[in-house]
Amino acid sequence: MDLVQMQKSLQDYTKSLFLEGILDSQFLQLQQLQDESNPDFVSQVVTLFFQDSDRILNDLSLSLGQQVVDFKKVDPHVHQLKGSSSSIGAQRVKNACVVFRNFCEQQNVEACHRCLQQVKQEYYLVRNRLETLFKLEQQIVASGGMIPAVELGF
Protein backbone atom coordinates (compact mmCIF):
# COMPACT_ATOMS: atom_id res chain seq x y z
CA MET A 1 0.00 0.00 0.00
CA ASP A 2 1.37 3.39 -0.87
CA LEU A 3 1.48 6.35 1.46
CA VAL A 4 -1.62 8.08 0.14
CA GLN A 5 -3.63 4.89 0.46
CA MET A 6 -2.42 4.41 4.03
CA GLN A 7 -3.36 7.95 4.94
CA LYS A 8 -6.80 7.48 3.40
CA SER A 9 -7.24 4.22 5.34
CA LEU A 10 -6.35 6.00 8.56
CA GLN A 11 -8.83 8.79 7.94
CA ASP A 12 -11.60 6.31 7.06
CA TYR A 13 -10.82 4.22 10.10
CA THR A 14 -10.83 7.22 12.42
CA LYS A 15 -14.14 8.44 10.96
CA SER A 16 -15.72 5.04 11.54
CA LEU A 17 -14.81 5.19 15.23
CA PHE A 18 -16.67 8.49 15.55
CA LEU A 19 -19.64 7.32 13.50
CA GLU A 20 -19.97 4.20 15.65
CA GLY A 21 -19.91 6.37 18.78
CA ILE A 22 -16.85 4.60 20.12
CA LEU A 23 -15.05 7.92 20.27
CA ASP A 24 -16.48 11.40 20.75
CA SER A 25 -15.25 14.96 20.16
CA GLN A 26 -13.03 14.85 23.25
CA PHE A 27 -10.70 12.57 21.28
CA LEU A 28 -10.48 15.33 18.67
CA GLN A 29 -9.46 17.73 21.44
CA LEU A 30 -6.60 15.37 22.29
CA GLN A 31 -5.50 15.20 18.66
CA GLN A 32 -5.55 18.98 18.40
CA LEU A 33 -3.19 19.17 21.37
CA GLN A 34 -0.64 17.05 19.55
CA ASP A 35 2.04 18.77 17.47
CA GLU A 36 5.67 18.42 16.38
CA SER A 37 6.88 19.29 19.87
CA ASN A 38 4.59 16.64 21.37
CA PRO A 39 4.11 14.09 18.59
CA ASP A 40 3.12 11.24 20.90
CA PHE A 41 0.74 13.10 23.16
CA VAL A 42 -2.39 11.17 22.19
CA SER A 43 -0.81 7.75 22.50
CA GLN A 44 0.74 8.75 25.84
CA VAL A 45 -2.59 9.82 27.32
CA VAL A 46 -4.33 6.78 25.90
CA THR A 47 -1.65 4.49 27.33
CA LEU A 48 -2.25 6.02 30.76
CA PHE A 49 -5.96 5.38 30.25
CA PHE A 50 -5.27 1.72 29.43
CA GLN A 51 -3.10 1.31 32.53
CA ASP A 52 -5.64 3.00 34.81
CA SER A 53 -8.53 1.04 33.32
CA ASP A 54 -6.81 -2.34 33.65
CA ARG A 55 -6.21 -1.62 37.31
CA ILE A 56 -9.72 -0.33 37.97
CA LEU A 57 -11.45 -3.21 36.18
CA ASN A 58 -9.38 -5.64 38.20
CA ASP A 59 -10.32 -3.88 41.46
CA LEU A 60 -13.96 -3.85 40.42
CA SER A 61 -13.94 -7.58 39.72
CA LEU A 62 -12.50 -8.17 43.17
CA SER A 63 -14.92 -5.82 44.94
CA LEU A 64 -17.99 -7.22 43.21
CA GLY A 65 -16.79 -10.75 43.82
CA GLN A 66 -16.98 -10.35 47.59
CA GLN A 67 -19.64 -12.17 49.62
CA VAL A 68 -20.92 -8.84 50.82
CA VAL A 69 -20.38 -6.13 48.25
CA ASP A 70 -19.14 -2.85 49.66
CA PHE A 71 -20.64 -0.27 47.34
CA LYS A 72 -18.62 2.43 49.05
CA LYS A 73 -15.63 0.78 47.39
CA VAL A 74 -17.28 0.02 44.07
CA ASP A 75 -18.71 3.43 43.28
CA PRO A 76 -15.45 5.47 43.48
CA HIS A 77 -13.83 3.02 41.04
CA VAL A 78 -16.64 3.42 38.55
CA HIS A 79 -16.51 7.17 39.02
CA GLN A 80 -12.78 7.12 38.27
CA LEU A 81 -13.26 5.05 35.14
CA LYS A 82 -16.11 7.27 34.02
CA GLY A 83 -13.83 10.28 34.45
CA SER A 84 -10.83 8.95 32.58
CA SER A 85 -12.88 7.49 29.72
CA SER A 86 -14.62 10.84 29.40
CA SER A 87 -11.26 12.63 29.32
CA ILE A 88 -10.02 10.65 26.33
CA GLY A 89 -13.32 10.55 24.48
CA ALA A 90 -14.13 6.86 25.00
CA GLN A 91 -17.84 7.60 24.80
CA ARG A 92 -19.29 4.10 25.06
CA VAL A 93 -17.14 3.22 28.06
CA LYS A 94 -18.24 6.44 29.74
CA ASN A 95 -21.91 5.77 29.03
CA ALA A 96 -21.61 2.23 30.36
CA CYS A 97 -20.09 3.69 33.54
CA VAL A 98 -23.03 6.07 33.96
CA VAL A 99 -25.44 3.12 33.89
CA PHE A 100 -23.17 1.22 36.25
CA ARG A 101 -23.18 4.07 38.79
CA ASN A 102 -26.97 4.19 38.79
CA PHE A 103 -27.11 0.54 39.77
CA CYS A 104 -24.43 1.11 42.40
CA GLU A 105 -26.65 3.77 43.92
CA GLN A 106 -29.47 1.24 44.01
CA GLN A 107 -27.07 -1.31 45.49
CA ASN A 108 -28.25 -3.82 42.92
CA VAL A 109 -25.52 -6.47 42.92
CA GLU A 110 -26.84 -8.52 40.01
CA ALA A 111 -27.25 -5.52 37.77
CA CYS A 112 -23.78 -4.31 38.74
CA HIS A 113 -22.28 -7.61 37.64
CA ARG A 114 -23.96 -7.16 34.26
CA CYS A 115 -22.75 -3.57 34.11
CA LEU A 116 -19.19 -4.63 34.79
CA GLN A 117 -19.37 -7.06 31.88
CA GLN A 118 -20.75 -4.32 29.67
CA VAL A 119 -18.03 -1.86 30.70
CA LYS A 120 -15.35 -4.49 30.07
CA GLN A 121 -16.79 -5.19 26.63
CA GLU A 122 -16.79 -1.53 25.66
CA TYR A 123 -13.33 -1.04 27.09
CA TYR A 124 -11.82 -3.96 25.16
CA LEU A 125 -13.51 -2.69 22.03
CA VAL A 126 -12.12 0.86 22.27
CA ARG A 127 -8.76 -0.48 23.31
CA ASN A 128 -8.62 -2.76 20.30
CA ARG A 129 -9.70 0.01 17.92
CA LEU A 130 -7.24 2.55 19.30
CA GLU A 131 -4.37 0.09 19.14
CA THR A 132 -5.21 -0.47 15.47
CA LEU A 133 -5.36 3.29 14.94
CA PHE A 134 -1.92 3.79 16.45
CA LYS A 135 -0.51 0.95 14.33
CA LEU A 136 -1.84 2.62 11.19
CA GLU A 137 -0.22 5.88 12.28
CA GLN A 138 3.08 4.15 12.95
CA GLN A 139 3.05 2.59 9.50
CA ILE A 140 2.55 5.99 7.93
CA VAL A 141 5.34 7.58 9.97
CA ALA A 142 7.65 4.64 9.23
CA SER A 143 7.05 5.18 5.52
CA GLY A 144 8.16 8.77 5.93
CA GLY A 145 4.67 10.20 5.79
CA MET A 146 2.73 12.64 7.95
CA ILE A 147 -0.39 11.83 9.90
CA PRO A 148 -3.22 13.60 8.04
CA ALA A 149 -4.67 16.55 9.92
CA VAL A 150 -7.89 16.02 11.83
CA GLU A 151 -10.97 16.65 9.71
CA LEU A 152 -13.80 18.17 11.66
CA GLY A 153 -16.42 18.27 8.99
CA PHE A 154 -17.98 14.83 8.76
Binding site: N38, D52, G83, S84, S87
Partner: protein, 190 residues
Protein backbone atom coordinates in the same frame (compact mmCIF):
# COMPACT_ATOMS: atom_id res chain seq x y z
CA UNK B 1 7.64 7.53 29.00
CA UNK B 2 6.83 11.20 29.31
CA UNK B 3 8.84 13.52 31.53
CA UNK B 4 5.80 13.98 33.74
CA UNK B 5 6.46 10.64 35.42
CA UNK B 6 9.85 11.59 36.82
CA UNK B 7 9.69 12.46 40.48
CA UNK B 8 11.59 15.55 41.51
CA UNK B 9 12.98 16.48 44.89
CA UNK B 10 11.39 19.18 47.00
CA UNK B 11 14.59 21.27 46.93
CA UNK B 12 14.47 21.62 43.16
CA UNK B 13 10.82 22.52 43.24
CA UNK B 14 11.54 25.32 45.67
CA UNK B 15 14.51 26.73 43.78
CA UNK B 16 13.51 30.35 43.13
CA UNK B 17 15.43 30.46 39.86
CA UNK B 18 13.02 27.90 38.48
CA UNK B 19 10.24 30.41 38.61
CA UNK B 20 12.27 32.57 36.24
CA UNK B 21 10.14 34.20 33.64
CA UNK B 22 7.92 36.83 35.23
CA UNK B 23 5.65 37.04 32.21
CA UNK B 24 4.41 33.45 32.32
CA UNK B 25 1.46 32.47 34.44
CA UNK B 26 2.39 29.78 36.90
CA UNK B 27 -0.43 27.32 37.44
CA UNK B 28 -0.58 24.64 40.12
CA UNK B 29 -2.80 21.80 38.95
CA UNK B 30 -4.13 19.21 41.41
CA UNK B 31 -5.77 15.97 40.26
CA UNK B 32 -5.64 12.37 41.46
CA UNK B 33 -6.29 11.03 37.95
CA UNK B 34 -3.21 10.23 35.94
CA UNK B 35 -5.01 10.77 32.66
CA UNK B 36 -6.44 14.13 33.76
CA UNK B 37 -3.08 15.34 35.05
CA UNK B 38 -1.51 14.65 31.69
CA UNK B 39 -4.37 16.33 29.91
CA UNK B 40 -4.56 19.50 32.03
CA UNK B 41 -0.80 19.86 31.93
CA UNK B 42 -0.88 19.86 28.13
CA UNK B 43 -3.81 22.29 27.99
CA UNK B 44 -1.89 24.68 30.20
CA UNK B 45 1.37 24.35 28.33
CA UNK B 46 -0.20 25.06 24.94
CA UNK B 47 -1.76 28.10 26.61
CA UNK B 48 1.76 29.29 27.46
CA UNK B 49 1.57 28.69 31.16
CA UNK B 50 4.21 27.34 33.45
CA UNK B 51 2.76 24.23 35.10
CA UNK B 52 3.32 22.35 38.33
CA UNK B 53 1.21 19.21 38.67
CA UNK B 54 0.55 17.29 41.89
CA UNK B 55 -1.55 14.22 42.52
CA UNK B 56 -3.30 15.17 45.76
CA UNK B 57 -4.48 18.07 47.90
CA UNK B 58 -1.96 17.04 50.55
CA UNK B 59 0.90 17.39 48.08
CA UNK B 60 -0.49 20.73 46.96
CA UNK B 61 -0.38 21.97 50.56
CA UNK B 62 3.17 20.66 50.92
CA UNK B 63 4.17 22.46 47.74
CA UNK B 64 2.67 25.70 49.00
CA UNK B 65 4.21 25.28 52.43
CA UNK B 66 0.82 25.14 54.11
CA UNK B 67 1.31 21.72 55.64
CA UNK B 68 3.48 22.64 58.60
CA UNK B 69 3.02 23.99 62.13
CA UNK B 70 2.13 27.53 61.17
CA UNK B 71 -0.53 26.48 58.70
CA UNK B 72 -1.71 29.97 57.92
CA UNK B 73 1.52 31.25 56.42
CA UNK B 74 2.99 29.36 53.48
CA UNK B 75 5.98 30.04 51.24
CA UNK B 76 5.92 33.80 50.86
CA UNK B 77 8.24 33.84 47.82
CA UNK B 78 6.44 31.15 45.85
CA UNK B 79 4.75 32.69 42.85
CA UNK B 80 1.60 30.85 41.89
CA UNK B 81 -0.90 32.73 39.75
CA UNK B 82 -3.67 30.15 39.59
CA UNK B 83 -4.60 26.91 41.28
CA UNK B 84 -6.76 24.43 39.41
CA UNK B 85 -8.01 21.51 41.44
CA UNK B 86 -10.23 18.51 40.91
CA UNK B 87 -13.16 18.37 43.32
CA UNK B 88 -13.42 14.64 44.05
CA UNK B 89 -10.14 13.35 45.35
CA UNK B 90 -9.44 10.65 47.92
CA UNK B 91 -8.34 12.00 51.30
CA UNK B 92 -8.70 15.75 51.09
CA UNK B 93 -11.17 17.05 48.51
CA UNK B 94 -10.67 20.04 46.25
CA UNK B 95 -13.23 21.90 48.34
CA UNK B 96 -11.20 21.34 51.51
CA UNK B 97 -8.07 22.44 49.68
CA UNK B 98 -9.86 25.58 48.54
CA UNK B 99 -10.72 26.41 52.16
CA UNK B 100 -7.16 25.92 53.36
CA UNK B 101 -5.80 28.14 50.60
CA UNK B 102 -8.30 30.88 51.41
CA UNK B 103 -7.30 30.65 55.08
CA UNK B 104 -3.62 31.23 54.30
CA UNK B 105 -2.07 34.67 54.28
CA UNK B 106 0.34 33.89 51.43
CA UNK B 107 -2.15 32.40 49.00
CA UNK B 108 -5.65 33.63 49.80
CA UNK B 109 -5.52 36.07 46.89
CA UNK B 110 -4.58 33.35 44.40
CA UNK B 111 -7.58 32.41 42.27
CA UNK B 112 -8.68 28.81 42.76
CA UNK B 113 -10.64 27.02 40.07
CA UNK B 114 -12.52 23.81 40.85
CA UNK B 115 -12.90 21.11 38.18
CA UNK B 116 -15.49 18.37 38.36
CA UNK B 117 -17.07 15.80 36.08
CA UNK B 118 -20.34 16.23 37.96
CA UNK B 119 -22.69 19.13 37.38
CA UNK B 120 -24.09 19.36 40.91
CA UNK B 121 -25.50 22.81 41.64
CA UNK B 122 -25.20 22.75 45.46
CA UNK B 123 -21.58 21.71 45.02
CA UNK B 124 -20.91 24.55 42.62
CA UNK B 125 -22.63 27.05 44.95
CA UNK B 126 -20.64 25.86 47.93
CA UNK B 127 -17.34 26.26 46.08
CA UNK B 128 -18.18 29.71 44.80
CA UNK B 129 -19.32 30.76 48.28
CA UNK B 130 -16.00 29.58 49.67
CA UNK B 131 -14.21 31.87 47.23
CA UNK B 132 -13.57 29.76 44.15
CA UNK B 133 -12.87 31.83 41.08
CA UNK B 134 -14.66 29.47 38.75
CA UNK B 135 -16.08 25.98 38.46
CA UNK B 136 -15.23 24.01 35.31
CA UNK B 137 -17.00 20.91 34.08
CA UNK B 138 -14.71 18.10 32.99
CA UNK B 139 -13.39 17.36 30.52
CA UNK B 140 -11.94 20.86 30.60
CA UNK B 141 -11.76 22.59 27.24
CA UNK B 142 -8.85 24.50 25.79
CA UNK B 143 -11.23 27.46 25.49
CA UNK B 144 -11.85 27.32 29.27
CA UNK B 145 -8.13 27.51 29.97
CA UNK B 146 -7.60 30.32 27.49
CA UNK B 147 -10.48 32.29 28.97
CA UNK B 148 -9.01 31.88 32.47
CA UNK B 149 -5.57 32.84 31.31
CA UNK B 150 -6.82 35.92 29.50
CA UNK B 151 -8.75 37.23 32.48
CA UNK B 152 -5.79 36.58 34.77
CA UNK B 153 -3.36 38.29 32.41
CA UNK B 154 -5.48 41.43 32.63
CA UNK B 155 -5.54 41.29 36.41
CA UNK B 156 -1.84 40.60 36.86
CA UNK B 157 -0.88 43.11 34.15
CA UNK B 158 1.61 40.70 32.69
CA UNK B 159 2.82 40.86 29.16
CA UNK B 160 3.66 38.05 26.83
CA UNK B 161 7.07 38.29 25.28
CA UNK B 162 7.39 36.39 22.07
CA UNK B 163 10.88 35.13 21.69
CA UNK B 164 12.23 33.96 18.38
CA UNK B 165 13.60 30.84 19.98
CA UNK B 166 11.24 28.17 21.16
CA UNK B 167 11.19 28.41 24.93
CA UNK B 168 11.05 25.15 26.79
CA UNK B 169 8.31 25.44 29.37
CA UNK B 170 9.25 23.36 32.35
CA UNK B 171 6.83 21.14 34.06
CA UNK B 172 7.52 20.18 37.61
CA UNK B 173 5.88 17.08 38.84
CA UNK B 174 6.16 16.64 42.53
CA UNK B 175 5.17 13.10 43.44
CA UNK B 176 7.39 12.09 46.28
CA UNK B 177 8.37 13.99 49.35
CA UNK B 178 10.50 11.44 51.12
CA UNK B 179 13.16 13.89 52.26
CA UNK B 180 12.39 16.52 54.86
CA UNK B 181 11.57 19.89 53.45
CA UNK B 182 14.72 21.93 52.92
CA UNK B 183 13.30 25.22 51.99
CA UNK B 184 15.51 27.66 50.17
CA UNK B 185 12.82 30.25 50.33
CA UNK B 186 12.25 32.69 53.13
CA UNK B 187 9.32 32.04 55.37
CA UNK B 188 8.10 35.06 57.18
CA UNK B 189 6.16 34.63 60.35
CA UNK B 190 3.35 36.89 61.20
Amino acid sequence: MAEVLLPRKMEMANDPSKFGSPDLLHVLAVDDSHVDRKFIERLLRVSSCKVTVVDSATRALQYLGLDVEDKSVGFEDLKVNLIMTDYSMPGMTGYELLKKIKESSAFREVPVVIMSSENILPRIDRCLEEGAEDFLLKPVKLSDVKRLRDSLMKVEDLSFTKSTQKRELETENVYSFDSPVQSQLKRTKI
